[in-house]
């Protein structure tokens, strides 16, 4: 094999005093060769991004390199001055980031932001920079590049912004491209396009690519070689084929197994006599407030949505952002009032209830929210957070708090009722969120992207917990997710939504193995690592 473009040897990065461990990464060594994609995989806190930050000279404040070397083109990047490092950035090492929504300056036109890369390294004249920016936008496949170059970031979609980021990183044809979770924030079909684009550009330019991700599906899709990290150390390093098919380390095996979707369950429900929830012809339109001189805009978030949910069933609602799936969930818990249509929960129409009558029925449908960090009041002890619902419904305070203890026990967090939310990890908080939803003894739980913000191993635990509770407490679940692999693992039946409409519904097995709608096929084809998943299904 040729000499590596980047060679990391024994790199150790010290965290500031008081962090939860002394080193961000410890004694890490790996190479990135030209014309290969090295995937660095790990869960949050594994230190997978830290080595990349050291390569770029963009380490967060307080993190220092205390050992090892990072060799690039014969020089140790750790010993460079800021000025020397700056001259490498953008010119010979490009980088793209996770959040396309915030990674571009909102006040500058796209063309100007690409032009800055040339300006930073004193290349080309201003008109040449714009001409080159246009070529780059064409190369990364932005629709209407002549318009896009004059656009502000807010006028572009997430996928288009990520293409702009890639155009910027490629502007000066760097030898090394670092991509830090570049597709994590994108919809699945957009993710597939961006992965294809990166792989394609890598081949055409013969770059070395260091691709940081938490998702083994993405690894299966794109990696030449894989480096698995855990708590700052490398646990496994090898070719993509070896690591995916014959993982040596238990942790790698656990991560690969934790990817949901490697099995699709048999439908467990048979046609029931009476549905628990019956939704028919639900409509919801959002209107942007028009002014005196401004026309209002209408978005059909729900367009004639009808379905039934049987008692004890888990019904998955899948779709990309903007499909109306979250609005559906919010209508079912009546946080949102549908414009027309009915929502009947065991005989009572929730859609028309108001005031006190609505308040009384609310406890029957409860919600688990997406963000385990934002959905708990930071100043309320978790026991109280759980007890507040029953107290509001007239249960005595002492009794409600005692129940909260039992519920925490039930979700696997005994004896923590008097702690505050910040003392818990994301997975633990989501358990608290589940306990809170259960506190009112609901008949139906709406889980809106309940595991999307969690690492895969935690995701698997929470899904398992939900499954277990559902059986023990005979609950029904409306499970909203953008992640088809998660849906495949937990749902009995699936609704596929697009632009506010249900495009397909059926048993999970039918939807996944024999999709009818073109859009469903498109979604399934976009799942990273799909061939592998189907092979083992």
């Amino acid at each position: 094999m040729s000499d590596p473009v980047l060679s990391i040897r024994g790199l150790t990065l010290a965290l500031p005093k008081g962090a939860d461990r002394p080193y961000a990464v410890e004694d890490v060594s790996y190479d990135v060769h030209g014309s290969e994609i090295l995937c660095v995989v790990g869960e949050s806190g594994s230190g997978k991004s830290m080595a990349a930050n050291a390569v770029m000279g963009l380490l967060p404040k307080g993190v220092r390199a205390t050992g090892g070397e990072v060799m690039f083109d014969g020089q140790n990047l750790l010993t460079l001055t800021e000025k020397q490092h700056r001259e490498l950035r953008g010119l010979r090492i490009g980088m793209i980031f996770q959040e396309p929504m915030t990674a571009l300056n909102p006040l500058m036109r796209v063309g100007a932001q690409i032009g800055e890369v040339f300006e930073a390294h004193n290349k080309l004249t201003p008109p040449e920079r714009q001409a080159r920016a246009l070529e780059l936008l064409i190369e990364v496949g932005i629709p209407q590049p002549e318009k896009a170059i004059r656009a502000y970031p807010f006028e572009l979609s997430g996928g288009q912004r990520q293409r702009v980021m890639i155009a910027m990183a490629l502007a000066l044809e760097p030898e090394l491209l670092i991509a830090d979770e570049p597709t994590t924030a994108l919809d699945v079909t957009t993710q597939a396009q961006i992965l294809e684009l990166i792989a394609d550009l890598q081949r055409r330019h013969g770059m070395a690519v260091m691709f940081i991700t938490h998702d083994f599906g993405v690894v299966a899709e794109i990696a030449t070689r894989v480096c698995v990290m855990r708590e700052g150390r490398i646990v496994e390093l090898g070719t993509a084929r070896d690591v995916l098919e014959r993982p040596q380390h238990d942790y790698t095996r656990a991560l690969i197994e934790a990817i949901p979707g490697n099995r699709i369950p048999e439908s467990r429900y048979l046609d029931p006599p009476t549905p628990l929830l019956e939704v028919s012809h639900l409509h919801k339109v959002f209107r942007s407030r028009g002014g005196l001189f401004k026309a209002s805009r209408e978005v059909h978030a729900l367009d004639d949505v009808s379905f039934i949910l049987a008692p004890g069933e888990t019904l998955g609602v899948v779709g990309e952002s903007g499909s109306g799936k979250s609005t559906l969930g919010r209508c079912v818990v009546r946080l949102e009032r549908p414009d027309s249509g009915t929502l009947t929960l065991s005989g009572i129409d929730l859609s028309s209830l108001k005031g006190e009558a609505l308040r009384r029925e609310r406890r029957r449908v409860q919600m688990i929210f997406q963000d385990p960090y934002a959905s708990l009041n930071p100043r309320t002890r978790v026991g109280m957070a759980i007890a507040q619902g029953p107290i509001a419904n007239g249960v005595a305070r002492d009794k409600a708090l005692k129940q909260a203890d039992e519920l925490l026990e039930l979700v696997g967090l005994g004896g923590v009722a008097d702690r505050f939310p910040h003392e818990f990890s994301g997975g633990q908080r989501q358990r608290i969120g589940i306990a809170r939803a259960l506190a009112l003894d609901p008949e139906l739980i709406v889980a809106d992207e309940a595991v999307s913000a969690l690492d895969v191993s935690i995701q698997a635990q929470i899904l398992h917990l939900l499954e277990d509770l559902k059986h023990r407490l005979s609950l029904s679940l409306l499970f909203i997710t953008h992640d088809l692999r998660v849906a495949a693992q937990i749902c009995d039946r699936i609704l596929v939504m697009q632009n506010g409409r249900i495009v397909e519904q059926g048993s999970a097995r039918d939807v996944f193995l024999n999709p009818q709608a073109a859009y469903t096929r498109e979604l399934l084809a976009a799942i990273p690592g799909r061939e592998q998943a189907l092979a083992s299904a």
């Binding site: 770029m56 963009l58 700056r86 001259e87 490498l88 950035r89 953008g90 010119l91 490009g94 980088m95 980031f97 959040e99 915030t102 990674a103 571009l104 300056n105 909102p106 006040l107 500058m108 800055e116 890369v117 300006e119 930073a120 390294h121 502000y152 807010f154 006028e155 980021m165 910027m168 990183a169 002014g291 005196l292 001189f293 401004k294």
Partner: protein, 325 residues
């Protein structure tokens, strides 16, 4: 085109708001205790009923309220703000005579505080955790906390009385007969102390706000993108961080600008500056209601104008607003 429509809609709303302010002002003055006719009569030394009746008739005070209101509103619509009985001059002439001096003072203070505040704030943000940055913030806190009148008096004591560098009061040197450039220089000298005094407080606020806003903006993802491009730190500070940090400053500057007519009473009084602030103070003491109403109208109109300008500037500074998202 969207922009032109935006301006048209804002102007239309402004006219309605202004009309409501005129009506509100009128009733506010009606609520004030004391009979203007009795005060006028008292000053003239006469107390008999017949004279009072004549006064009321002459100034329309004997008419029902709605007639008085109608007369006032239709007067304002034709830029007739009535007559100041105390000063024996039309209100409009009085205000127009004083307005330039006030706008010169408050406008200079506005520009001074905005420019110095943003510069000081950027420096403090770039030097966070360094002694020089802390010194800037300590000074800003001092200016923020010190009462305006005390700064005014002390600056007179130091720069006029003790050092004798600058004149202590007035708009220009009375009796010197300067014209042209010499006059401008003379006014400029007189302007330095009051304008600086007035600017200090807002400068302190801009400094603190610019710093906080820039530190906030420097945490944003696009700053990391800019660094990954290999841009120089100074370019990142100016083009990426400062530009994004300026948005809240525009809001605050709009508020300050709206106070330009009525916000300098204290400074004008200490420095004997012949502006609107002092005119308003005198009108208040003398219950010169027509004059007060006129000044209220001008202050309100200025606030509305600067609100519109602020919105337009915001639209220029942040493309997301013009796009209506």
């Amino acid at each position: 085109m969207l922009y032109a429509r935006l301006i048209a809609s804002r102007l239309f709303k402004a006219v309605i708001v202004l009309f409501m302010i005129i009506i509100l002002n009128f009733f506010l003055i009606q609520l004030a205790p004391g009979d203007p006719a009795a005060i006028l009569a008292g000053e003239a030394g006469a107390t008999d009923e017949e004279f009072l009746r004549q006064l009321r008739e002459r100034f329309g005070l004997d008419q029902p309220l709605y007639v008085q209101l109608w007369r006032y509103v239709s007067g304002v619509a034709t830029l007739d703000f009535g007559y100041s009985y105390r000063q024996q001059m039309p209100v409009l002439d009085l205000i127009l005579a004083r307005l330039p001096a006030t706008l010169l003072l408050t406008g200079t203070a506005f520009v001074l505080s905005l420019v110095l505040g943003i510069v000081a704030g950027s420096l403090a943000a770039a030097r966070v955790k360094k002694p020089s940055g802390s010194i800037i913030m300590a000074l800003a806190l001092l200016f923020y906390a010190t009462p305006l009148f005390w700064v005014a008096l002390m600056s007179v004591v130091v720069f006029s009385v003790y050092l004798d560098w600058l004149p202590a009061y007035g708009l220009y040197t009375v009796g010197a007969g300067h014209t042209g450039f010499a006059l401008a220089l003379d006014v400029g000298k007189h302007l330095i102390l009051p304008a600086t005094t007035l600017a200090l407080f807002f400068m302190a606020i801009y400094t603190r706000m610019t710093r906080a806003s820039m530190l906030d903006a420097s945490q944003q993802d696009f700053v990391k993108t800019a660094r990954a491009k290999g841009l120089k730190n100074s370019v990142i500070q100016r083009r990426h961080i400062l530009r994004n940090a300026l948005l809240p400053i525009i809001t605050l500057a709009g508020l300050q600008a709206g106070q330009m007519v009525g916000g300098a009473i204290l400074t004008e009084t200490v420095f004997a500056w012949p502006g609107i602030g002092r005119l308003m103070f005198e009108a208040l003491q003398q219950r010169d209601y027509n004059l007060l109403l006129g000044i209220f109208f001008f202050s309100a109109a200025l606030v509305i104008v600067f609100n519109i300008i602020t919105d337009l500037v915001y639209g220029l500074a942040d493309p997301r607003i013009k796009g209506g998202s």
